[in-house]
């Protein structure tokens, strides 16, 4: 990944055949960060799928740089989310998945096996990382989110900075704290210099 989030990720990219969990409370920026990861892949010509995002803000996806010409959506897979995501991995390189609150271990395992076999990438969006029953190669936990630009009746939401705790199973096991603009005042997604 050569894009603006490269410095957030160990090795500078999402690795093929692996899972990344993006976790945080609703409103913390999980969807935007997930889409931004997808955007970098789509910008390089890779096909993507979004499974289980039931009310996607398509316009926001465009603003985050996602190339919608190469995205397949399955908004409401219901109980069939794991099979849908697995089947899509036959045709796309990267699947963004928001699974239901309860994830059966077997379903997750089946999907990961498929991702390994197809050398695909799975990004899981969840409110709490523990909800995904298998330890992922990479987890990005959004711990805080602060918006700028909005006051008491004036301005508007313009920029947001989120704090991300990055943990890699292949790294030295130390969690790294980062800040990410989602988006910056200039409207781009970027890793921010550490907060002072």
């Amino acid at each position: 990944m050569s894009g603006s989030l490269a410095t957030l990720l160990p090795g500078g990219a999402l690795r093929r055949g692996t899972t990344t969990v993006v976790a945080g409370e609703r409103g913390a920026g999980v969807t935007s960060l997930g889409i931004s990861l997808l955007a970098e892949a789509s910008a390089r010509g890779h096909w993507c799928a979004a499974v289980g995002l039931d009310d996607p803000g398509v316009l926001s996806m465009v603003e985050l740089g996602l190339d919608l010409r190469r995205v397949v959506f399955v908004p409401n897979p219901r109980g069939g989310w794991a099979d849908a995501a697995g089947e899509l991995l036959d045709g796309v390189e990267i699947v963004l998945l928001r699974p239901p609150a309860r994830v059966p271990h077997a379903a997750a395992r089946r999907l990961l096996a498929r991702a390994k076999e197809r050398r695909g990438i799975v990004i899981v969006l969840t409110d709490r990382a523990e909800r995904w029953p298998i330890v992922p190669e990479l987890s990005l936990r959004l711990t805080a989110s602060s918006w700028q630009g909005v006051g008491f009746g004036d301005g508007r939401l313009t920029a947001r900075r989120v704090e991300v705790l990055v943990e890699s199973r292949h790294g030295d096991d130390r969690a790294v704290r980062s800040s990410v603009w989602l988006p910056s005042p200039a409207g781009v997604v970027a890793v921010a210099p550490p907060a002072s």
Partner: protein, 366 residues
């Protein structure tokens, strides 16, 4: 009061914007053709334009002659796309629109008589129409016969305006013009945006074919509506502007015109989730009094707390922006709405909409 004599041109086939922008280009071509004959043509909205009738009819020897010439000029252009053309002439814009719908020339001075038998619904004010129906006033004539003062008392300034239009005292019904039409037509002069539709699953590369096969397979298993692709359109609401359509449906996709200046458009960043079914929200001040939006677009109290229906704890609001009244389009039938962005103490950004005294959650900035 003498209303201006107007010629109205209406192409229903060009009045609804599709995703490719073809209608706007077609309408621009119609305007250019008309302007070669009569230079003072004014677009009102997509598919509809007016021009002063007096000068050209004097010049070309009569009103029917002008209509015949315009039909003839436009025939080859419209035949290409099999778009229908309707022309009418009457006094005042409202009567001219009704005349065009019926392909009529209403003689000068006859507009009130022409309008009298038409339905009150032609005023496009559903509330007014339903009240009139209940009062047994189904035609514009019976509505026009009411006393002006009483109409004002009962229906306010809006009703009084409609009343004057029905009486032929005022020519133009508010809401007939789409204020964005000139901007939209002007933006057509800019280089055409890339239309990306054919490459969608078009089998241009091995990767495209693989993706198409996977999508089709899944669609067969789950049903046609379950596998979707994105389509972007112009509009005020994020929900209106971006839609997911079933994969393989004839709706084309375009990323055109995102940069076009739209009145009422909220600048980026857009909400990352846009509710297809907005949820009711209770918005109050810190003391628990409901916050409302006045007709002048002001809040009646300071937002302090917000509770989303069927959802966890009440959010404490620490900042907000707006309200921004939404300039509705004429076919929105005067649905007045306003938007508000709120930010909770937990850092959650929400986009709310006020409509008919209620607040709705429209989108989340997740």
């Amino acid at each position: 009061m003498v209303l201006e004599r107007l010629l109205l041109l209406w192409c229903p086939g060009l009045s609804v914007e599709g995703p490719t922008g073809e209608e706007a280009r077609g309408f621009a071509a119609v305007l250019e053709t008309v302007a070669l004959r009569c230079p003072f043509v004014t677009p009102l909205r997509l598919g509809m334009a007016s021009l002063p009738a007096r000068a050209p009819s004097r010049y070309f020897g009569g009103e029917p002659e002008v209509l015949a010439l315009l039909s003839e000029d436009l025939a080859p252009l419209l035949a290409e796309t099999s778009v229908e053309l309707h022309l009418g002439i009457a006094d005042g814009l409202f009567a001219a629109v009704q005349a065009a719908r019926r392909d009529l020339i209403v003689p000068a001075g006859d507009s009130r008589g022409f309008l009298a038998p038409l339905s009150v619904a032609t005023l496009r004010r559903p509330e007014l129409a339903s009240i009139c129906q209940r009062l047994g006033l189904s035609t514009l004539g019976s509505f026009a016969a009411l006393d002006g003062g009483r109409v004002f008392e009962r229906f306010g300034t809006e009703g009084a305006h409609c009343h004057r239009v029905a009486r032929g005292e005022e020519g133009e019904l508010v809401g007939i013009r789409d204020p964005s039409i000139t901007v939209r037509l002007r933006s057509l002069d800019e280089p055409p945006p890339p239309v990306t539709q054919p490459s969608f699953f078009g089998g241009t590369s091995l990767a495209d074919e693989r993706a198409a096969r996977a999508a089709i397979r899944l669609q067969r298993r789950l049903g046609p509506g379950e596998v979707r692709v994105a389509r972007l359109a112009e509009g005020h609401d994020p929900a209106e502007r971006a839609a997911l359509v079933p994969y393989g449906s004839s709706e084309t996709m375009t990323v055109a015109g995102l940069g076009a200046p739209w009145p009422g458009r909220l600048p980026a960043p857009s909400p990352s989730s846009v509710l297809s079914r907005p949820t009711k929200v209770r918005l109050t001040d810190p003391a628990g009094t409901s916050v409302e939006v006045t007709g002048r677009g002001l809040l009646t109290a300071v937002p302090g707390r917000c509770r989303i229906a069927n959802e966890g704890p009440e959010l404490e609001i620490v900042a907000w922006a707006g309200p921004w009244p939404l300039a509705t389009r004429w076919w929105d039938l005067r649905r007045w709405r306003a938007r508000l962005q709120v930010l909770s103490s937990s850092g959650v950004g929400l986009l709310l909409t006020a409509e008919r005294g209620e607040w709705w959650l429209e989108g989340r900035y997740d």
